[in-house]
Symmetry: C2
Subunit: 473 residues, 2 copies
Amino acid sequence: MDLIDGLRHVVGADHVLTAEADCAPYLTDWRRRYVGRAQAVVLPGDTAQVAAVVARCARDGVPIVPQGGNTGLVGGATPDASGRAVVVAMRRLDRIRAIDAANETITAEAGCVLRSVQAAALDRGLLFPLSLAAEGSCTIGGNLSTNAGGTQVLRYGNARELVLGLEVVLPDGRVWDGLRGLRKDNTGYDLKQLFIGAEGTLGLICAATLRLFPAPRAQVTAFAATASLERAATLLARLRASAGATLTAFEVMSASCLDLLRTEYPGLRQPFAGGAAAPAWSILVELSDPDSEAHAIGVLERALDAALAEGVVDDVAVAQSGADSASMWRLRETIPEAQTRAGGNVKHDISLPVSRIPEFVANTNARLLQEFAWLEPITFGHLGDGNLHYNIGVHDRSDLERLAANQERINRLVHDAVHAAGGSISAEHGLGQLKRDDIARYKSDIELQLMARIKHALDPDDIMNPGKVIPAR
Amino acid sequence: MDLIDGLRHVVGADHVLTAEADCAPYLTDWRRRYVGRAQAVVLPGDTAQVAAVVARCARDGVPIVPQGGNTGLVGGATPDASGRAVVVAMRRLDRIRAIDAANETITAEAGCVLRSVQAAALDRGLLFPLSLAAEGSCTIGGNLSTNAGGTQVLRYGNARELVLGLEVVLPDGRVWDGLRGLRKDNTGYDLKQLFIGAEGTLGLICAATLRLFPAPRAQVTAFAATASLERAATLLARLRASAGATLTAFEVMSASCLDLLRTEYPGLRQPFAGGAAAPAWSILVELSDPDSEAHAIGVLERALDAALAEGVVDDVAVAQSGADSASMWRLRETIPEAQTRAGGNVKHDISLPVSRIPEFVANTNARLLQEFAWLEPITFGHLGDGNLHYNIGVHDRSDLERLAANQERINRLVHDAVHAAGGSISAEHGLGQLKRDDIARYKSDIELQLMARIKHALDPDDIMNPGKVIPAR
């Protein structure tokens, strides 16, 4: 039986796509930077089928490209142009297998859309805290394979910290059942850590047991205006101290972000608009309180009043309603779309020690503008996690062409500066195809060798998502 | 140059111990279950010396046994009887290299005693939350190598969750510098996860960058009495919901624990003593509040009053002072010593999904007592993490001998029951020598093979702490 017939035998003919039109949506990434080819796109229905598909491909040495919601930003789920690969699309594995409320865990299959996991937890009064822009279409398998971040990392950690157990199909087609719901387990190497954030290069995550938390009773949101990132960091430290773990978001936005929103989305209400120029930095703060709204508002107002009195911030606006909160969040979340409307930009998903961010932004802005006076840094992100979306746009659309022409030089300048400051060139998006060769520049030989050894130990024939993560030799 | 001269050349003659009396303290474990032999005990003074020592040993194929504070409970830092090994004692690497208050991180060398790291953080108003009984003598390197747990896991996670970066000497003597202070970094495999909890079998941790947190403003402690573990789990769920992350401890103790304390330490004040029998289960609750003591007391009293009114608990005592709190904690922390005074016991450091604990304890107690009517389960631990110290003592000292004689049978019965309930036979102590062969019974072949492949990929010559963690073939 040839490969395609073999795959049809495993998953049923309806679930093996080979026609160009059927395959097309699976062969282009979300940002349309990459277009690949494949022998087939296979949609298995359960873990046993995934295992059989992988075993069948392994037998012929056929590369496997796992795919979840196909919302990744680095081409990690798109096959190469050779046409040799089989894309294994996981979306039919979409069952919530179990919720254990007393243990505060949920066991979900890899193809579950993130929002459906959040909803299943909330039905039991529990919170699955992973939250990010693509949550309506990204899948748990993709979230774990990329160790997704998002807006709640400050409180709950990255996707990695939310995983207690995994079920993984290994590159030889065997199933590792590591679906444990334990918060403490020191019986040997913690194997699940290998597969989380490996972008499908070491095995194929089929299901996970995830931590849940009690849903907070109240959420309170506020905007604050400040003159510098140093002061924003001061406010962060104060709120970390006085609000503790109830501080669930601390997002910053440069004046250029707010200006861009005003141009592209004039209908969005801005807290400090009133005709005046946007403040140098706007801060979005969210507290999630297990006690009461009154307590959260009290903590927030005391901290913000003190910060106002001491000149740490220049203006504050506390949301007076759920609608107020939603409109504050909408500002933050609309920035990427506003950038797209404005004609595109050069994106950098970076992280740094929080202490080094103010200096990094000042120096890197200056260096960029010295070389390219027509650029405009659009800086926003999760200051609480040291994670900035340090994106570079233009003041004037007529400069878009030279922005594109200089993209590589801009990337290099920014990433060199990140590296010099002890930072990461990919905070939450992963490496995929986009950045796999960049890291060869920034990682030590030892670290690259260790990665290669792990890859070889688990996937000696380089079957699993080849051409991703590990730099080409 | 022979090995010993070579090592003297690297670290100085004073720091290479070979005389029997000098070496003895390094060759016996804390519980005195294991006594090993070694060619030498070497005390390097910095990472470069550690690297040179490892390289020198590797050249001759000499096994290396890393050792921190030598407080482990499973013989993980004790060499075997062959006398071939070199013990590398890390305690001279005891510098705090940096504290970055704005980034809430500390970089400490492996030989730093846990308490000194806590103290260095507190000097800056920050908390390093790892806390366990041995904190006055255990070291950070050992804590990370065993992925230590302790009393604050419920809020802050295991040692693993507190690590942002590592510096590791690899089995070939090269240094991997992974000392990053980043909360988000997705640039390839997360290599530090390999070394955490590996008990020194994959490399030698020399330094770590660790997360800090703002120190809480107030801590409030209470004792509660309840009739069953089911009700204790109900109280846990309620406090998780109403106190959120301010719930920093939720410890349970069986009546037999309190009875034992009354016998062995009659001077210790017991909250519900008053001549009556100890309640079936006592619960120690701690809230750590960033806001105020008044708020913490309010949250705690509201939750406990409601629990009393609904019969979830039968009695409560809220600490009225720091001294009150300390005496409550002393009860909990004295249980192990009381067990030692009582003549010893068969220890089990197990974890289970919280939801399965009440049934597990009831059934396993019944099975044990059916077979050995003279046993007395002494059950205590971190219910919030699903981690019990399910220890087995005797009512009558005259039964100590048959307890020792039946130790293996008791272990087997308990661990089989743990495994059947989806639990772990080593929640926070690791495997070391003590449990390395036990896991061959409970782990799948696939998992054991994956562990062996990782070991081989990083340490192909089996130099690093051989005879630990990985089961013998």
